[in-house]
Symmetry: C3
Amino acid sequence: AQRILSGNYGKAVTVGAYGEITYNQQEAQNGELDVQRLVLLFGYKFNDKTQFVTEVEFEHVEEVYVEQAFVNYAIAPNMSLRGGLMLVPMGIVNEFHEPTTFNGVERPATDNVIIPTTWREIGVGVTGRFNDLSLGYQAYVFNGFKSTTSDGEGGLSGFLKGSNGLRGGRQKAIKSTVDSPTLSVKLDYYGLPGLRLGLAGYTGKTQAEDDIEELDGANIGVSMLGLDARYAYQRFTARGQFIYASLSDTEAYNTATGKDLGSALQGWYLEGAYNLLPQEKQQRLFAFLRYEQYDTHADTAGTLTRDDAYNRTDITTGLSYHIAPGVVLKGDYQFRDNALSGDNVDDRLNFGIGVWF
Amino acid sequence: AQRILSGNYGKAVTVGAYGEITYNQQEAQNGELDVQRLVLLFGYKFNDKTQFVTEVEFEHVEEVYVEQAFVNYAIAPNMSLRGGLMLVPMGIVNEFHEPTTFNGVERPATDNVIIPTTWREIGVGVTGRFNDLSLGYQAYVFNGFKSTTSDGEGGLSGFLKGSNGLRGGRQKAIKSTVDSPTLSVKLDYYGLPGLRLGLAGYTGKTQAEDDIEELDGANIGVSMLGLDARYAYQRFTARGQFIYASLSDTEAYNTATGKDLGSALQGWYLEGAYNLLPQEKQQRLFAFLRYEQYDTHADTAGTLTRDDAYNRTDITTGLSYHIAPGVVLKGDYQFRDNALSGDNVDDRLNFGIGVWF
Amino acid sequence: AQRILSGNYGKAVTVGAYGEITYNQQEAQNGELDVQRLVLLFGYKFNDKTQFVTEVEFEHVEEVYVEQAFVNYAIAPNMSLRGGLMLVPMGIVNEFHEPTTFNGVERPATDNVIIPTTWREIGVGVTGRFNDLSLGYQAYVFNGFKSTTSDGEGGLSGFLKGSNGLRGGRQKAIKSTVDSPTLSVKLDYYGLPGLRLGLAGYTGKTQAEDDIEELDGANIGVSMLGLDARYAYQRFTARGQFIYASLSDTEAYNTATGKDLGSALQGWYLEGAYNLLPQEKQQRLFAFLRYEQYDTHADTAGTLTRDDAYNRTDITTGLSYHIAPGVVLKGDYQFRDNALSGDNVDDRLNFGIGVWF
């Protein structure tokens, strides 16, 4: 406050935001309108080497989360140390989730139930690029998921389940328990014109609190591999992603908690888009088609049988109309199905307004 | 985050805020001190045509709401399309609710129980002005109120009631249900010097969820009409407003929910203010008097009898001391009564600090 | 919104923030990682005389509080009036709590259980300095603590307790009850080079709601005295603080509520630090040692016996590495004990990242 009243406002401050207002309507049902998220971004450049970035997210109008808060410290021209609350680099959307950067009102389902986007934890690590090799790299030690807590009666209550895998286990830096470190690495190759390839890995165990860490099934192991590609050529763009996660000790976990967590999660998608407007226009109007396949019961351990309802296929097609750089209007239709016989998943119509600055 | 670390902070960003710190003391009782609201505003101008505005509100220190979030897109010099979470244009204060824009610590009661200020929903529409006619216009399709939800036992639980009309039915864009569109229009005429006249209309039905929409009393109809005027001449200012809402199907609603919602709501006020300081001063000190009459049981349907306790008269008089443009200190006393015999409503003393930038 | 869309963003706006990401590990237990707090600051200079400052705090990722919101109005070159939600000036850290301003990952315990940092309420007062005397002053009337509320059965439920004194009684400007004013004064003497001395006093009663204010034990009296000193000479810095609070009517309070609130609270600490890096470097690396003694049962009234578990000694030693002005990495170890025989308090290892801009 003392500082403020002297009025030293500098150019070192960055203020930004992104947001998504969405309309979702499943077949023959009422629609839902929601300010799904509004995220404020504040950054500061302390000096040439030292920067701080934070994002504060408001979800569904009235929930709040500090989503990112980290210090970036340059130790060499193409190498920085980072520490704080950061995004885990896995696939495309977990790191680049602003609505103007992807087609479709909703993020790909793989980036929801396989990669638990927005997946963030507190960690430290190094990031940079080898320009000669056209290679960017990130390597972090992160805090891990929490899979269980005490059920108050000497047993375990579980956060992970078959329908959405690891999603319920994110600690989100909220007074998070630390038991063992987990490792996250991503490499990005940008040596071919218009193409960007990513290879990501994550491995570690979940983090049980002191009172339960000795119980059978308290922790599971998580290993995740991700491949992604983005391509742009004139008015055509494409992207794809493949994610596979292997979970160990899920039999003991399921026995202890009564959950149905799979032992392997897998998802992939391919998407092509074409800009219907002339390239010299500032506005862009992409027509796109995305084929996505994902299964949170790609494999199961012990007596748990695979639930084909979790083996899903989504075909999404629609338009992304960028009325200005940073503002997009979206509309799409999702043909959704699973591996059970018959059409068991409601198709869905979506509209959205997205901004990013 | 990538973008931030490169430090591209531009002049296109707007940061603002408004806030109200209030002291309310009813006759012979302890007072209450509250940071009633602090609202942060962020805007961005993407290009000459395209802007985004959002307001994040913190109420009573610890509650948070995204209150506005919309894109404004100019399609002609005096015409813009708007979409997102917006204010419904009805009366004066729902749109212009910053504390430096009105006299009195608390907003007029009409703008609370007749118009459920801050009334906002997600919508799309058009806004602009016909300069030749000195006429501004707004026309939107908004999502509507939600009057009922399932009571879990096959019946209905109601959000609307006699004491404050539609207030409990605002969906506020929180995963809001959409069943049918509602329409909102406002015209503003500014052709006479110092005078601004407004005429607003709103009509539509409430939005019931799928599981109850067929039940008797699940939805009501809402039609609202508003007239408002603001006048300024030298050191004298005046404003007034008349609001009438007609609600249909309230008998079925009351029967199904056990509520006492009126079938008509009506309120009006007249206010005059005089600046006690010379006009050439930057500071202004307004003495004001407001007479207000409002009734959430202006009419009732079926067997429901009008409750005279809802037929209210407030006389508010006090001072608004603008110590700088954007900062106001307020103090007033409210003589409050209803149509029951005797003086049944406690009078109230109010003080406040308001800022807007 | 109207204003925003015209894009009048000025240099009068200040945007800032501070934050702390912490790791705490008690002996032989799992550690905890937390975004303990992220605080956004917005200020505006309306004109040469009039400014507004607000801070919005996000605690543990998902809680939100408006922590400060006040208007500062200069009535003379070295004298300002202030009103709004402000910090109570007592000791060093309640006013200067940004992580780059103090050594140690966690704030001194005296600034938690004796001074209930961050101690803020709504108030009005005057602040300024007498340059001839090298004397700064602050004098405010604040709203007070709330010690009790109705237990719903005609009795009292209490917010204050032996283990952390007044901490649970902060009203934080959340629809806070006002029964009687409390007074707060601080003087700061900066006449000797490198030294800054503070003397603070606070006195008043707690604020009971109307329905219980006549009950025995509903209110207590609070008087607090604080002395603090900060010293800097070349690479050496030191600071110390002594706080004593006398609480009256605690016997009746404890009888009515079943609590164990002490009648006197006392705490003090001394800390020395030495910058291990050459003074001409922008980076600084302080090694520090703090000895702290605090007792929330410094005295008790009536039949309540002093609990030696509340009579605590903390010795904290570690490093504060300021990698840039405004960014600090911290690590320390806390040897913690109480006056009971044996070593009953777990020692603790702490790491932290702190930023302030």
